[in-house]
């Protein structure tokens, strides 16, 4: 199994390690609940070096593979976009930053090898930097802890030197909080993490990362979106450029235009449950006393709201906020309602 450049540090900090996407990753250090609250009230530090960092020199060929307006992405700016297949399904969701001379992309760990093969097969020259470290510093105190990067606003990207370590910093993340994702050479990763911990960032693992992203209403590839999911069904319309959609000149463009015009059979919704029992991925969704209308794709007990929350797909005529639902857990129906997303409001600094 692969290890990140921060492996020794995780073990020193007493992390409980788990397998994730072929990597040994920290699930938690002191506990998911405490780490979750640390991110919402102070700042938490996540090792996300398992994600695939890569460089793309030619913008044009890459643009053919994504529905976002990448030619309109100014130097120093970052954008969320999608790699689509011919059928308009999502091969991966990714961050793209324009660093002037090239694009920097951050790919999901479970998809990075397939993504690179896909891009290369479509004539995109990709230079992988899978050995680099990537740290996420997230929370309301993140800017205080990283004064070197406070000139950046939400979704800005720039090279920044932090105590002598050359980094590429973006002001973004996967928690709904203000914060930064910091890329550096693998051999500098541990020193960078140590200096951020010395600035009182709280180490946090994949457990808190998952509960935080779910509260923020952000999809997890493999759970909430996959190759069979249309971005239209997943509520990712914000990642679709109107201009590019009108042209339709990208892989999956025709299917996407059709999905947008005709709608999709199911749509992703947020669900709040009434009791305390969470509904997990796979739980069936029904209308009260009625038949199946969908399924849960992610579910967690929200540490911030103190209630169980879930993301799931339901029939497109059942997506109205407030719609009463039943989620089947251990053969029993749990009541809940369709809720607006995000569950916990975003605190981005724009």
């Amino acid at each position: 199994m692969a290890k990140t450049p921060l492996d020794a540090l995780h073990r020193r900090l007493g992390a409980r390690m788990v397998e994730f996407a072929g990597y040994e990753m920290p699930l938690q250090y002191q506990g998911i609940m405490a780490e979750h609250h640390a991110c919402r009230t102070k700042a938490a530090l996540f090792d996300v070096s398992h994600m695939g960092q890569a460089e793309i020199a030619e913008i044009e060929a890459f643009c053919h593979l994504v529905p976002g307006d990448i030619t309109g992405l100014k130097p120093g700016r970052q954008r969320y976009t999608l790699l689509l297949n011919e059928a308009g399904g999502i091969l991966d969701d990714l961050m793209v930053a324009n660093l002037g001379s090239h694009l920097q992309v951050v790919l999901n760990a479970s998809r990075k090898a397939a993504d690179v093969a896909h891009m290369r097969a479509h004539g995109v020259a990709v230079t992988t930097h899978f050995d680099r470290a990537l740290l996420a510093l997230q929370g309301p105190k993140a800017a205080e802890m990283l004064p070197e990067a406070t000139h950046l606003k939400f979704m800005d990207a720039a090279p920044v030197t932090i105590e002598g370590i050359d980094c590429i910093v973006t002001r973004s993340g996967y928690t709904g909080e203000d914060g930064f994702e910091i890329s550096c050479a693998g051999f500098d990763g541990e020193a960078l993490a140590e200096l951020l911990l010395a600035r009182e960032a709280v180490p946090a693992g994949l457990g808190a990362r998952d509960s935080l992203r779910l509260e923020a209403g952000l999809c997890l590839y493999g759970n909430d979106i996959d190759e069979t999911t249309s971005p239209v069904a997943a509520g990712l319309g914000f990642a679709l450029s109107r201009k590019r959609l009108a042209e339709g000149r990208f892989l999956g463009g025709a299917a996407l235009i059709k999905a947008q015009a005709e709608g999709t059979a199911e749509k992703l919704v947020g669900i709040k449950l009434d009791g305390r029992a969470p509904a997990r991925a796979g739980a069936e969704i029904r209308l009260p006393g009625g038949g199946r209308i969908g399924r849960v794709t992610s579910g967690v007990f929200s540490p911030t709201l103190n209630v169980p929350i879930a993301l799931g797909y339901v029939r497109s005529d059942c997506t109205e906020i407030g719609t009463a639902l039943e989620l089947i857990v251990r053969d029993k129906p749990l009541s809940g309602q369709v809720t607006s997303l995000p569950f916990v409001h975003h605190n981005y600094v724009r």
Partner: protein, 126 residues
């Protein structure tokens, strides 16, 4: 002092002077689960077979079953852990008990481990 036994499913069983067996999950189990947010208990009066799933604990991230370590009838449950699931994390092997069983066969206790044997069992898991 009641005698305490342990199962391979990480439950403890304390037999009181009244012959009733109080059952909970071990400290090792609560640590492995992490922050517990929901507990479901069997109904009083239900008869359970050894190894039968008869309760649920959910942490932030995952659900796991609680098994009956021995066969018997549920005579009492601990509603305080339903109201305050974090109590299981705090005091798993005392006030965080789950339910009490009237055992079908008290002699079956000998199929469980004592503390020393359970500690040895945990050592082998590590």
């Amino acid at each position: 002092m009641s005698q305490v036994f342990y199962s391979k499913d990480h439950e403890w069983v304390a037999v009181g002077a009244d012959g009733l067996a109080t059952i909970g999950i071990t400290d090792h189990a609560q640590q492995a689960l992490g922050d517990i947010v929901f507990v479901e208990l069997p109904e009083a009066g239900r008869s359970v077979a050894k190894g039968e799933a008869c309760g649920v604990v959910e942490s932030v991230k995952a659900a796991s079953d609680v098994y009956a370590p021995l066969s018997g009838t549920v005579v009492e449950v601990n509603p305080s852990i339903v109201d305050e699931p974090a109590k299981v994390n705090a005091v798993a092997e005392s006030d965080g008990w789950f339910f009490k069983l009237r055992l079908d066969d008290p002699a079956a206790l000998s199929t469980l481990m004592d503390r020393a044997a359970y500690d040895e069992f945990l050592g082998k898991l590590a």
